[in-house]
């Protein structure tokens, strides 16, 4: 009879760092024995050996109970997720308008997108793009029927993409809008096209109506489907967590090559949980080849004195060695870049932002792993602005990806039920209200009453207020906002009570604008950001 394993290794092989978590089952349930991360490229076995040695030193009884013997570490069963290597898609269209539509659809996928239209590129330049070795796929589609700005060029484009597919047998081609029926396509591709016929995929035409382009997005996502990809697995994990905790759960991830936002809600009794997710290459902490726009996005969140060139230098180095410079000013820069990435993810997912605030928001990604909890909470509140109350937690052991790769939902839920309390590090809660006027409005706008274990804490609230209140991890309390004027807190009201949970950072009360308005003048903006960050960062050691 085969003995059930009493130890399990979860490996999240990210593009920037590799995280290894050691799970043990000393009795009836799995527990997180420890976790550790190292730069990508380091052998997970080397990380595991150090981790196992620490468990043996800290708790020999536990190590014995889960069979953590030297020499047997490598034989432990593993649960592995990885970050798939990014792939580039060239979106070709007959006009700037159609390319902009294609880019906006493809931006909500993990593809890196390069757009080219007949108005911006000549045919030779488009062929050059399609033949580039780093390009994995070409997308060509149009409206059905084609728009007046598309008709004149469609034959040329069909011939161009067909010829590129003929020259590169490994190139994936996504064509729609009746391109394949055009004579130029057949002439370009040839009568006996090389390569796998399945590499040429039919795509829907560009839709005119709302949501009509979800079909194209599904096709693009389908080409990247990878059961071992940790980012794609987050949706499954979110659904299992929502089902398990009976709470609305949102997971937001910022990684080296992309980001993801997954939202899940428990189903009605007997029903499966519902979930929705968007992965996007634009959600990367620092996208490849950072441009001026990215530099400005990050500069907008910094309080230091870096000029644009120096910020560009720092971002290029952060992109090149994302595992380094995690302390001091580097930590602040990293969270500034994370804010910009979160804002990009939020901008690409308006339908998820429109949902009510989730009960639990989980932040995932190495950029959140080492920073002070209050700074992480503030970064999330700065970038993901939605009224209501939510508990924030972090996946510091990076288990969500590996667990999400478990195909069987029952098995996944069972493991999550055991380790949910270990893997989610409570950062705190955020109560966010909007519509209370700007900071220059003098005087109190109401008060917050925090009731915890019979003790009551009162705090007067001013317009634009931002404050952390102590609420220990594991503690639960009721926060009541008593306002003089009606404000938006999920709905419009003057009096609302919400249940909040404690965390390392406590409770963040945020009455700033939605969307957050910062002064245009750089010195004033820095001054405002400095005041806010002073609440979250230690002041003694920058």
């Amino acid at each position: 009879m085969t003995r059930a394993p009493s130890a399990l290794v979860a490996v999240d092989a990210g593009a920037a760092t590799t995280a290894v978590a050691l799970l043990g089952r000393p009795a009836e349930r799995w527990r997180l024995a420890g976790s550790m991360a190292a730069p990508a490229g380091v052998d997970p076995v080397d990380i595991l050996e150090v981790l196992a040695a620490r468990v043996r030193a800290a708790d020999p009884a536990l190590a014995d109970a889960i069979g953590l013997q030297p020499g047997e570490i490598e034989a432990l069963p593993r649960l592995v997720s990885r970050s798939a290597a990014p792939r580039t898609l060239v979106a070709i269209g007959a006009s700037r308008r159609s390319v902009a539509i294609l880019e906006s659809i493809a931006a909500r996928t993990a593809w890196r997108v390069v757009g080219a239209s007949t108005e911006t590129h000549d045919p030779r330049e488009m062929t050059e793009l399609a033949l580039r070795a780093d390009v994995s796929a070409v997308l060509l589609t149009a409206g059905d029927p084609p728009g007046p700005d598309e008709r004149a060029s469609l034959d040329d484009l069909a011939g161009l993409v067909g010829a590129a597919a003929r020259r590169r047998p490994e190139l994936q081609v996504i064509v729609g809008g009746a391109i394949r029926r055009r004579r130029a396509w057949v002439e370009g591709l040839g009568e006996d096209p090389p390569g796998d016929p399945d590499r040429i995929v039919e795509a829907p035409a560009i839709g005119q109506r709302r949501h009509a382009d979800e079909g194209l997005r599904a096709v693009l996502e389908g080409l990247l489907a990878d059961p071992g990809d940790g980012r794609q697995a987050l949706r499954a994990t979110a659904a299992s967590l929502a089902d398990l905790l009976d709470r609305r759960v949102e997971i937001v991830e910022v990684g080296h090559n992309g980001g993801a936002r997954a939202v899940a809600a428990p189903g009605a009794p007997g029903d499966e949980p519902t979930s929705s997710a968007v992965t996007t290459a634009r959600g990367a902490l620092v996208p490849p080849d950072p441009d001026d726009a990215l530099v400005d996005q990050v500069l907008a969140w910094t309080t230091g004195s870096l000029d644009r060139h120096r910020m560009g230098d720092r971002l290029r180095d952060l992109r090149a060695t994302p595992w380094s410079d995690g302390a001091g000013e580097g930590a602040r820069l990293r969270l500034a870049a994370a804010r910009a990435a979160l804002a990009r993810i939020a901008a690409l997912t308006p339908e998820l932002s429109a949902l009510p605030a989730p009960d639990l928001t989980i932040l995932s990604g190495g950029c959140f792993a080492a920073a002070p909890a209050a700074a992480v909470v503030l970064a999330a509140a700065d970038a993901m602005r939605r009224t209501g109350a939510t508990q924030l937690a972090a996946d510091l052991a990076r288990l969500l990806g590996p667990i999400g790769t478990i195909e069987d939902p029952v098995e996944r839920r069972t493991l999550l039920a055991d380790v949910a309390g270990d893997l989610l590090v409570p950062l705190g809660s955020v109560v966010l209200a909007a519509g209370l006027g700007a900071r220059h409005d003098d005087g109190s706008v109401g008060r917050l009453v925090l009731e915890q274990d019979g003790a009551t804490t009162r705090r007067e609230l001013a317009a634009g207020d931002l404050a952390f209140l102590d609420l220990a991890p594991g503690a639960t309390a009721t926060a009541t906002l008593e306002l003089r004027e009606a404000a938006r807190i999920g709905r419009r009201t003057r009096h609302v009570s919400v249940a909040v949970s404690g965390g390392i950072a406590g409770l963040l009360v945020d009455l700033r604008d939605i969307p957050l308005r910062l002064p245009d003048r750089r010195d004033r903006r820095r001054s405002v950001l400095t005041a806010w960050s002073a609440l979250a960062w230690p002041v003694d050691d920058r």
Binding site: P39, G188, H309, R314
Partner: protein, 354 residues
């Protein structure tokens, strides 16, 4: 000879471990940076319209033409080959001899695609040769995409290459933490690839190009200098006569720091030898298989980022989770800098060399 944890400096860690020597614990958790690679498989990008001049499996010597590149490539519409079966995208097209005198039709080009019974070709008026920067065997020819060259020689890996490829003899003109200014570059560097230390400014790069320097090897190149170089390369591309080959190999990144001492030791060993800069992979190809290259010491570590970026020391073991400025807790290791007491440094901020 320095000895750390029973392992002589310069020894192979794995071999030392097999022999029972005490290897400092945790060194394997530091990302290893390979200084020298070999054999070299370099890829040279060509674009539609460029004409490959070599075939798969062909042996080429240094300086042999690999392709005829277009400097002002454009699209033209032509009737295409007379034989319809010969009309295959990617093949070369030449104007038929029977064309009317004075007709504004290009002489030759690369067939791109057919549409409406006419062919689009990639063509241009000004050509420049793409020369093999080192000797090797052609392993791949993909018209419009790339030519691959394989060689048994070794190469020093860098972070990125701007412009190129280029070849010349290697000259070290600055210490590893130095900076070269325009006034320090003169005609003695003509035809050479210069190692310029930690940093070089845009003015010095411009002067280097002007006096015929073939390349620069530098630890770091900022965004501003990078833009200047790329703009200069673009201008050279657009000019009627073009510019001689020039390339910049950036070894580390954008923020200023010295060249790592093991890398500098290799560069110093190669000084005077013929070398080449290629961009895929980004490296300095050492076109002399005989030269003996120094091996990095296994316990040498270098700080990658932060206030101590570029400082080197000796690994002294794992420190465990450690609190650093900013209230950040990171896995750390102890490092001895210049023989002083060991200090904790985040593992992610360190690199070792292989």
């Amino acid at each position: 000879m320095s000895v750390v944890g029973g392992v002589p400096a310069g020894a192979d860690l794995d071999a030392a471990a097999d022999a029972g020597a005490v290897v400092p614990a945790g060194l394997s958790l530091i990302r290893a940076r390979a200084i020298v690679i070999g054999p070299v498989e370099a890829t040279f990008t060509i674009r539609p319209g460029d004409r490959p001049l070599v075939a798969h499996g062909e042996a080429v010597v240094r300086g042999a033409p690999l392709a005829d590149r277009l400097r002002n490539a454009r699209t033209e519409v032509v009737g295409g080959p007379l034989d319809a079966d010969a009309g295959i995208p990617g093949t070369e097209w030449a104007a038929p001899p029977s064309r009317r005198h004075g007709e504004a039709v290009p002489e030759r080009g690369e067939l791109l695609f057919q549409s409406g019974g006419r062919w689009r070709i990639g063509t241009g008026d000004h050509h420049e040769p793409l020369e093999a920067p080192f000797a090797g065997i052609v392993r791949e020819v993909r018209p419009g995409t790339a030519i691959g060259l394989r060689s048994p020689v070794r190469a020093v890996l860098g972070r990125e290459v701007l412009a190129g490829p280029s070849a010349g003899r290697l000259e070290v003109i600055a210490p590893r933490d130095g900076e070269v200014r325009a006034s320090e570059i003169d005609v003695s560097g003509t035809g050479a690839i210069l190692v310029v230390g930690a940093h070089i400014d845009a003015e010095a790069i411009t002067r280097a190009r002007a006096v015929g320097v073939r390349g620069i090897v530098v630890a770091s190149l900022g965004v501003k200098e990078r833009r200047d170089v790329l703009a200069s390369a673009k201008r050279g591309q657009a000019a009627v006569h073009g510019l001689p080959p020039f390339a910049i190999l950036v070894l580390d990144g954008a923020v200023r720091r010295p060249i790592a001492s093991p890398v500098m030791a290799v560069l110093e060993a190669v000084a005077g030898c013929p070398v080449a800069i290629v961009d895929d992979p980004p490296c300095l190809v050492i076109d002399d298989a005989e030269v003996e290259l120094p091996v990095p010491e296994p316990d040498l570590v270098r700080v990658l980022a932060g206030p101590m970026a570029g400082v080197e020391g000796r690994w002294a073991g794992l420190a465990g989770p450690h609190r650093f400025p900013g209230g950040v807790v990171l896995e750390a290791g102890y490092v001895r800098f210049a023989g002083r007491a060991a200090v904790a440094v985040p593992l992610g901020d360190l690199e070792r060399f292989t």
